[in-house]
Symmetry: C2
Subunit: 675 residues, 2 copies
């Protein structure tokens, strides 16, 4: 048919093919239709952020018949099945020349849609938010629902089984804090669905991708580019980009410490004495704590606990003078025992249950209310809590935790079903933090970091962290899993990622070993932010100050990290300008090299460093792939020509890292081994 801005629609007997900039995106015949609609009732159980989701499907219809009408720059396609049901697909381009598909069911009770996008067998697919187990998503379905990420995340692991038995918490390969209905195809197009309902993107079939959407309407947007870098620039133009990080972030490691002012002082002093470069202290219990069977938990009342942290108000400026920032913690819930809850309840700022009472979420031996961020007054009130209790008090950053627990049976001010709001919640929570920074004039000075995310987090969440890894070596939930997480998020338009050094979840027989902490430390020197975490059961874990050898590893790696400050800053600035992520899949720069498309445990850190973290226990060497280029081993200075796998010595303290011989930063890189 006509061709508009790269759009082409070809009609065949009873069907059509839609092409956008030479990519075939839809292919429809009555025998192999591209659209189904139907009706289902979601059966969703939540227990502490762990979801069991089933669809009680009452109907699913193939819409076999189409009638096509040109309209404006595009077409209206009426899909129908006899006289029983129909749906309309409006195909057009938006003001920026992107392809826009608007799907609309004739009947609101038809609240399910399955759209098949044409695919080719050789296609690779990346993105869908933060994916911990798979980077190339081809061959599997990916349900998209923000939740806890699971403990173990692999039904073949004993840890997962134990967590499943205990509270259905083991998770699976697709569980994530940050899902997103956005993917990048190796045909060099992106597809983004604007909805926030439950979706399931199934990339199993050889010739189509099936997008299941649990709503009666949807808007899909596509764009293409001639390079992946160009494509990410376009994607982040659509979704937003993260601002640059505060400058102080690169000056060393942020130490995760709990236990009070003097504990912070002592650990800070000890680390500095041994030459550790410390940029901050992150004390998540600055607002006080409670003890549960899971471990130490926090008192969710979001104001300085002057008993646990005496004189913190005076110590913060003192530390700041010494180049050490103080960071705290907040989340979007208020514990029912305390005054913030009382105030929010009094003002009607909490989400409700179906009876109109304040909804109380069980968080593991305690309850909290949910601040209704859809209500402007509640949103402003909570933003002011952040501005007053956190920013004005002097915090230079915080973990903005949670976001993935919105119950699907709570009632919000905006009237949108909680099933639809659930995924949108993390971005709303990010925005609340972001706005507090902007309104305080502190964007770019103050850091906050989140684990939960969704569409919108690209703009509003200024830094992601990988959430709660196990303190182990497992591929699906240990150190290794952080790498595909960073890379998949990069392909979803979020280019700033880091993780808890040492991991977090310490349950069952897990205990963090010294070796794991050392390996995680050296890995994080090659990410845009270094920050430690004690874990949920600190006493079971090896900590940064447990022996001199460990402290020395932190000292050296913090020096390496901060020595790279100009290099990292440049990469972060590029991310802010054009959406080119800081931790990059190799194929962004070596797209002709087919081998790079399946690499999920190595990455480029900026343009010129190739990093392949050791993620197995007891290793003293490591095998990795070097793409065709001139590479130099960061620690030995040995040159490698690339285009092949190499095995290198990789003792603790020498994570496999290579730099490009012709990098403008070659002198800087060459100086690192002496640090």
């Amino acid at each position: 048919m006509t061709s508009q801005q790269g759009l082409e629609l070809t009609q065949q007997a009873g069907g059509f093919t839609l092409t956008f900039q030479q990519r075939v995106l839809l292919r429809h015949t009555p025998e192999a239709p591209c659209l189904w609609i139907g009706r289902g009732k979601a059966d969703i159980d939540m227990f502490r952020g762990n979801f069991s989701i089933k669809d009680q499907l009452s109907e699913k219809l193939a819409l076999t018949d189409v009638s096509i009408t040109p309209q404006g720059q595009g077409w209206n396609i009426r899909f129908s099945r006899g006289d029983v049901a129909h749906s309309t697909l409006r195909i057009t381009t938006d003001a920026q020349g992107r392809l826009e598909m608007q799907l609309h069911n004739s009947d609101q009770t038809n609240n399910r849609m399955w759209l098949r996008l044409a695919a080719q067998q050789a296609d690779h697919v990346y993105g869908c938010g933060e994916q911990f187990s798979y980077f190339d998503l081809r061959g599997k379905p990916f349900p998209l629902w923000t939740s806890e990420q699971g403990v173990g995340r692999n039904k073949q692991s004993y840890v997962t089984w134990q967590a499943d038995c205990k509270e259905n918490a083991g998770g699976d390969y697709y569980w994530t804090f940050f899902p997103q209905p956005t993917f990048v195809s190796s045909q060099k197009y992106y597809c983004h669905v604007e909805n926030s309902c439950y979706m399931n993107f199934d990339f199993s079939a050889p010739d189509f991708h099936e997008l299941a959407i649990w709503q009666d309407q949807a808007v899909l947007r596509f764009d293409c580019a001639s390079s992946y870098i160009g494509l990410l620039e376009k994607l982040t133009a659509l979704l937003g980009r993260q601002p640059e990080l505060p400058d102080w972030v690169y000056d060393g490691v942020i130490l995760g410490i709990q236990g009070g002012t003097e504990v912070c002082q002592q650990k800070l002093d000890l680390m500095r004495e041994h030459g550790v470069k410390v940029s901050g202290i992150w004390a998540q219990d600055w607002e006080g704590r409670r003890i549960t069977s899971f471990g130490k938990r926090l008192m969710w009342n979001w104001r300085w606990d002057s008993e646990l942290y005496p004189e913190l108000d005076k110590r913060i400026p003192q530390w700041k003078k010494e180049g050490v920032r103080f960071l705290g913690y907040i989340n979007p819930y208020v514990a029912i025992e305390k005054e913030l809850y009382a105030e929010a309840a009094e003002q009607g700022y909490l989400t409700k249950d179906y009876s109109g009472n304040d909804y109380q979420v069980e968080f593991g031996e305690f309850y909290a209310g949910v601040v209704d961020l859809t209500k402007p007054e509640a949103y402003d009130w909570y933003k002011n809590v952040i501005k007053k209790n956190l920013i004005e008090f002097g915090l230079d950053g915080w973990m903005a935790d949670f976001g993935e627990y919105l119950p699907t049976d709570t009632v919000m001010h905006n009237g949108v079903d909680a099933e639809i709001m659930h995924n949108a919640w993390p971005a709303l929570w990010a925005k609340c933090n972001y706005d507090a920074l902007v309104e305080s004039g502190k964007l770019g000075e103050i850091l906050f970091f989140m684990r939960a995310g969704y569409t919108g987090s690209q703009k509003y969440s200024v830094m992601m962290w990988a959430g709660d890894q196990n303190v182990d070596w497992s591929l699906d939930d240990g150190l290794a899993s952080v790498i595909p997480a960073a890379l998949s998020l990069a392909m979803t338009g979020h280019g700033l990622h880091h993780s808890d050094i040492g991991g977090y979840t310490t349950l069952f027989d897990m205990k963090r070993s010294k070796e794991l902490l050392m390996r995680w430390c050296e890995f994080c020197a090659f990410t845009p932010l270094m920050r430690t975490h004690e874990g949920n059961r600190p006493d079971d874990n090896w900590q940064f100050d447990h022996d001199v050898e460990t402290i020395r590893q932190f000292a050296r790696m913090s020096r390496v990290f901060s020595a790279m400050k100009p290099y990292i800053k440049q990469a972060v600035a590029l991310n802010a300008q054009s959406g080119l992520p800081v931790m990059r899949p190799l194929f962004l720069h070596y797209e002709e090299d087919a081998h790079t498309y399946s690499l999920k445990y190595q990455y480029l850190f900026g343009r010129d460093l190739l990093v392949a973290p050791v993620h197995e226990e007891g290793r003293s060497d490591w095998t990795l792939y070097l793409p065709q280029d001139s590479w130099i081993n960061l620690w030995t200075g040995e040159p490698h020509s690339g285009g092949c796998e190499v095995t290198v010595a990789a003792p603790i303290g020498q994570p496999p890292v290579f730099y490009r011989a012709n990098s403008e930063w070659a002198d800087l890189f060459a100086s690192l081994k002496a640090l």
Copy 2:
């Protein structure tokens, strides 16, 4: 509308209600229809009898519109959905006055149907073949597919998890060797679906039972009675009944022995010396064996192995003279290394793969061909193998093992899809054995016993055994699980059931304890047949001859069992005459007592004995429910009036058993404690 033989059809606006003998069976309105049809592609993976079954559902339509036409004694109901699809339901009564529903989709490609039968919240449901985890099926879906029963059968058990990791073998609550699309409602009707395709009977909803049927047509049959006993009589009139057991079965225990003629002789002698009443030796390795990592396996070539069993041909008549029968083993597969396979392959008697080659099934480190029982010549050939190699050789019985492994991608002579034949296979295998007995004139003299079953097994499988319990105390796969298995099978029309004394599956850390063997022995004295099994790893298990105390338990329990011969024979005869099972749910005789409907770990053995086996470790007392009647404790003579729970002493050797004070067998029962 009209009323025919208890049939009543009432039309309302756009809908109808169908009543049969005052039971509301169908209720249809356009908003709450009773029929859906659709189209799917089964995605079935088999690994050694463990199946993973998913439906790739491409369409599911509610058939909202009905048009009703009287025809003959009933009606034709045309269900449709606009002009898109329709299905016909023919409602009539058959020659015996049963309600018959014939469902037929207009289009064969619509190979899925979901029929909702009206239900009431208080209904109980029983049957669906042999169900090991649940007796009252209400509240859960029950997929109906013959398969291995699983190792552990409970996702919360460590054994299950290990078996799942190893070969997807852990199973779940509904896994069974003997499923059947037949259930009995406490509204005192049965429903039987005549098909053998994959089905899923979902009893979760309060107001309907949803029967999912993976075929384009189905025939359902219903009948009612005023009592459960009357209902079972009607059900077994439809399905067939088992003949009486050979008389010698009641004369003692059948000892499961392996290892050769002399091992059999020695163990037999030892047991008889200690007063054990032995009715048979069951040597499953009579045809030779092979060793695999699972344990000792057999040589599937179905003829006497005269090396392992020298002079067996002479010893069999000798033992028989002494009152001890010799039993062997067979299954419907032939090992590819041996001559039966060669002969079958030569004659074209094996099922094929899609390329036309003989299909070879992997059975755990060895392969076997599948005798094509749908091919008359192959069926006759195999029946003759049984007649010649087993019966003429002198076997008085055998385990007719397997039946549940028919692969869904094999091709058979009758041209029926293996997906449809899979469930039907066990009954065909039973019939082959049954016919061999009939044609040899040995029905009622020779015993065979099966684990796999389906519709038809009621007539052709002369005795069931419960398959492969774990040698443990678990509810879902240990001793306890045998009781709901017997009772659910009883409600499906098969009234003869027994189990491996001591259980079978010995994997991971499992080892059969002495206590477990003793408890299982005393339980089986109150079932229609006593037979031991060494288990798959005999050396890890406590065996009947391991110490004198164990032998004495067998001696005493075999005396108790054979002393009850006239009582058991009468119960078995009643089962043969009218389908009243030998092991009975209490509500068969106490239907007014609501409490009896949820009892799954106690039963009536015949009319007058109430048995509540101890199925927990380390117990010396036991609590059970006695319905309103006059009961006498079998071991102490203490009278109980019933209608309440009682706790009784239950040391090993005194399983909780009560008899009715006014039983005609009271004197016999009273004599048992002295044995």
